[in-house]
Structure formats: structure tokens, C-alpha cells
Amino acid sequence: MRKTSNNNIVISVNNVSKTFKIYSDKPSTLKERLVFWNNNKTEYHEVLKNINLDIKKGETVALIGTNGSGKSTLLKLMTKIIYPTKGSIKTVGKLTSLLELGAGFHPDFTGRENIYFNASIFGLTAKEIDDRINDIIGFSELGNFIDSPVRTYSSGMYMRLAFSVAINVDAEILLIDEILAVGDQHFQDKCFAKLEELKNSEKTIVIVSHSLDSVKKLCNRAIWIHDEKIRMDGNVDKVVDEYLKVCG
């Protein structure tokens, strides 16, 4: 019985603490390291402290909290961009993170070439990209611009292309950091609809966001992080209301 319930957990965070070093002046050259070796005022800043949480398959979870409360750090820990100081994090299945759109776009390459490059960063093979390329181009609504170099794009077009790639990767776990505000109203609605669709197809989604209205619409669970710890975890409406009472 216990085993089956464990099988459903796709992200499990066990006793995780994360401490950042804060250098008053970070020594990055050899000279600085030698000259200031005993004069190193390193301070430590604990961002997360003994976090425990499990996220089950198919859940749509929002991480909320004030600026600097450690939401994004937790998200980065889940994607393995940074590693915990203590504790461990396990994830099951293919994971895609949208921390920043268009990471790794090369300005001189065309939109199409950048789709291949960007999708391969997310770990897709050539065949998988071939299968999706029409969906991606269609979703981006870039039309003929897809074969122009990306440097000629407007910032909106750039974002649309980047979002289209990321959303079509088809990962089982999707981690999103405050990027729901992409493009014009029409495109935003489309992104939202796509996220709804992913949510209904048993994908696990974790979102960091300050736009509480969209969070309420999209998510079914919210985790409020406050002062390095989980302050509240549960139904999205309850948590958001409580959060607004205290911090709003």
C-alpha cells in the first residue's frame, strides 16, 4: 500500500537546506585569493531551512511568498541548476524548467535553427524535434519570420518563439518561474490555455508567481514559503487568502 503511494510522488524534497555564501568582495583571481586569504569576510545567508515536501504526479502547485523568500531558489534546486547544502531532492521523469525564456538563443541563427538548439538543451533528440517542429512554429505564430535570424525579431516575437519551444517539450514535470506574462493578450490567453491542457493531461506543474489571480485559476495546491520555511501548504484558495491577509 505504502509502495503504490510512493510511486505517485514525482518530486520529493527531503530535509533540504540551502545556504549561499555572501562575499563582501568576492575573490575570483589568484592574487585576491592569496592577498586576502585571511581577510575574507564571508557571511552565510540561509535561504531555505529543513524543507520537506512531496509533490504527486498530476498536481499543479504554486510556490508563493514575498520577494527573497526562497521560492526561486527552491525551483532551481529542483532543476539541479544549484545543489542543496544539506538534504536531498529526487525527481522522477523528464523535467523541463522555464526559468528564463530563450536561454542559449544564438542571435545570428534563424528561428528554425534556434528551435533545434533550444529544444536540444531541453534534452530532445533530433527525431523528437522533427516531430514537434510544426507544432512549435504554429504555436509561435511567427509565419515566414521563422527563417530569419533571431536578431531581427522584436522582443515579443523572441519571447513567443522561446515559450513555444519550452511548452512543446512534453516534459512530465514543468517548472515555471514567473513567465506567464509573455506577449500580447491574445498570446497570453493561448499560453494559459496550453498550461490548462497540460494540467489536464496528468503533467506535474510547479509555478513560482506573484500574479495570484492566475495562480488561483490554474493551480490546485499552493505552498507559501516564508522566512526560510514552509509557512502553509494546502488548497490554493485557502493559502492565497491567508497569504493576502498577512502580506497584502
Partner: protein
Amino acid sequence: MIDTLNNLYAYRQLLKSNVRKEIRGKYKGSFLGVLWSFVNPLLQVLVYAIVFPFILKGGQEHYVTFLIIGILPWTFFTTVILQGTTTVLQNGGIIKKVYFPREILPISVAVSGLINFLISCLIIFIFLIFSGIGFSWYMVFLPMVVLAQFLLLLGIILITSAINVYIRDAEYIINFLVNMLFYATPILYSPNLFPAKIAQILNLNPMAVIINSYRDILFYQSMPRLLSLFVVIVGSIILLFLGLKIFKKMQKGFAEEL
């Protein structure tokens, strides 16, 4: 180790497109494009071919061909070492934003260097034909030498690229060392120039063994010194494993240090 390899295999498409980006993106916008990676060493050969015969009296037969067989592998060595050392630092932007096996970065520098070198081997072959030296069956040993050089390079840059994130001086120190090594490696001269004892010391340098092997195979058309070559290959494989281990350990801090 198996995990690392599996993970790299899953991201093979990234390796492919990254290599393409290294080769094509580097010269994008310039008039000659990718040709620059061959024009540069050829111009270098031209300079040495004009200057050095005056210094080295007695002279070497077919000196230009002799030089090219030394300089093209050396260009492979320096471009990979110098680009490889800075590659993690230069890709800091993506490293902070997306997860992917970081080993891809140094590996794609080494692979794109290898592809460039293999293409530039055409130049060597053209010179071999026109100088009348021609080809011999000893060329079957050529892949072994190329492999030795590739493994050696990959092992080195896995370590230097990771160190350079933490100590930015590494780049300049390595730049200096590579410049020094140029003179300690028999590229402009033949190791026969020295008494046997000194030649032996020179042979402690793995690049000397590699360049000598290229020369033995292509220029002198004789058996390369298989034992020395074998030692270099085994040493490079050990270095490669060590490099993967060190890189794996150090990469955990990349996103925070960059």
C-alpha cells in the same frame, strides 16, 4: 560514471547542435567564414617557413611539409585548450538558466576541434602529394595518434574549464604554458637536433610524442614508436577519468560562482 554516460547519451542532440554552433557560429559574419580555421595555420606556416631556414642552418628537406605536419596538430591542440578552458565561463548565461549535463560544453569544444583538424588533414595530404613524399601503409596508425590526442585534450580541458570558474587566472596561466610548450615540442625543429639524453627528456611531453608520431607516419613513412604512443593513450584515458570526476565534483557550484 555509468550515470554520467547515460545522461550524456540522452543529451546527444545537444552535443550535435553545440558542435555545429561552435564551428559555424564562430566565424559567422566574417567573409571567409569557416575557411579562417585553415587560413590561419597556413599563414603561420608561411612565416615560419620564411624565417626558420635562416636560423636552422643545414636545413631540413621539404621543410614546408615538415612544418605543416607539426603545425596543424598543434593548432588543434591550442584551439581546443584555449577555447575549452573558457567554455564554461562563456556559457555562464545558459548554465544559470537551464539544466543540462555540463560536460557537454568541454566535450563539444574537443569534438569541434577534432572535426576542424580532420578537415585540415586534407591540406597535409595535398602537401604530401605535391612535395613528392606521397603516402605509405603506415597511415593505418594515424587514427591511433588522433585518438590519443583527442583523449589527452578532453582530459585536460575537463579539468581546466572547471578550475577556471573558481580561479579566473587559470586562463592566463594556461595561455602562457601553451606558449612555452610550443618551443618544447618539436614543431619547428626535428628532435634529432639534440643529443639522445635531451631528446628523451623532451619525450616526457605527451605532445612531443604525438607530433613525432604524426611525423613518423606521414613524413618519414616509418613505424611510429608504439610503446611511447601506448603510454600516452593509457595516460590520457586515466586523465580523462580523473577529469570527469573532478568536473562532476566542481560543476555543482558553477551556477553560484558564475
